[in-house]
């Protein structure tokens, strides 16, 4: 079956430009997560979606970062006025929504978008 897909796979941009990264979760998965993988910081949580709402945005590093999800499916992570420190691999994961408070469901990861800000 289809897994989590992300596009583009690679993105090179100039400092100060805006970028949009896309995530298509596994069909039927209502929970969607964005993470960032960088050399200095390892794997960091950015934002979580439950359906189309984002109850946890605690990991977004600055107000230049935003994300939305439409139709309970596709999500877009937008980085405005990119900086060199934004260079990283941006990972998306999806899962079924946990029906038990305090018990997470297995998250399935996409291949990531490698972002390079020059």
């Amino acid at each position: 079956g289809a897994g989590v897909s992300q596009s583009p796979s690679n993105k090179v941009t100039e400092k100060g430009k805006d970028v949009e990264l896309r995530c298509d979760p596994i069909s039927g998965h209502t929970a969607l997560y964005w993470y960032r993988q960088s050399l200095g910081q390892g794997l960091e949580f950015l934002i979580y979606f439950q359906g189309n709402s984002a109850p946890d945005k605690s990991g977004l590093p600055s107000d230049r970062f935003s994300a939305e999800r439409t139709g309970g499916s596709v999500s877009t992570l937008t980085i405005q006025r990119t900086q060199q420190e934004d260079s990283a691999v941006y990972l998306c994961a999806s899962s079924f929504l946990s029906t038990n408070l305090g018990q997470g469901e297995t998250q399935y990861f996409g291949p990531g978008t490698r972002l390079l800000v020059l």
Partner: protein
């Protein structure tokens, strides 16, 4: 704040050797525990997970991990590694007071298996 520590950043071993990767977490409450693997050029894949029950969990490709609550540990083991086990391994934790299931990752351990 919750933290996840992986003891080794790099491990080099020969085929057929045994592997053990350490993982400790700092949260004192109930946790869900995971090991993910990232093979060269591939995306993160789940190796195994622990939610509750038997603290010894078995995953794919002959891996297993043991949850020791008193030691806040979830160490990964494989009795005999293969060259194809060369990868980066990540331990991850979900605090179960966090119903959103936010994964907190360790820094990762790069494992290189030589023929």
């Amino acid at each position: 704040a919750q933290s996840v520590s992986q003891h080794n950043h790099h491990v080099i071993l020969s085929e057929a050797a045994s592997l053990e990767l350490g993982c400790n977490y700092s949260y004192g409450g109930t946790v869900n525990l995971f090991w993910y693997v990232q093979y060269p050029g591939q995306h993160l894949q789940l190796l195994l997970k622990y939610f509750s029950g038997d603290p010894l969990v078995k995953g794919i490709k002959g891996f297993e991990a043991e949850f020791i609550k008193s030691k806040f540990s979830f160490n990964l083991r494989k009795p005999s590694v293969q060259w194809s086990d060369t990868a980066e391994y990540f331990c991850a934790v979900i605090e179960t007071t966090d119903s959103w299931g936010k994964l907190q990752f360790g820094a990762g351990t790069q494992v290189v298996v030589t023929p």
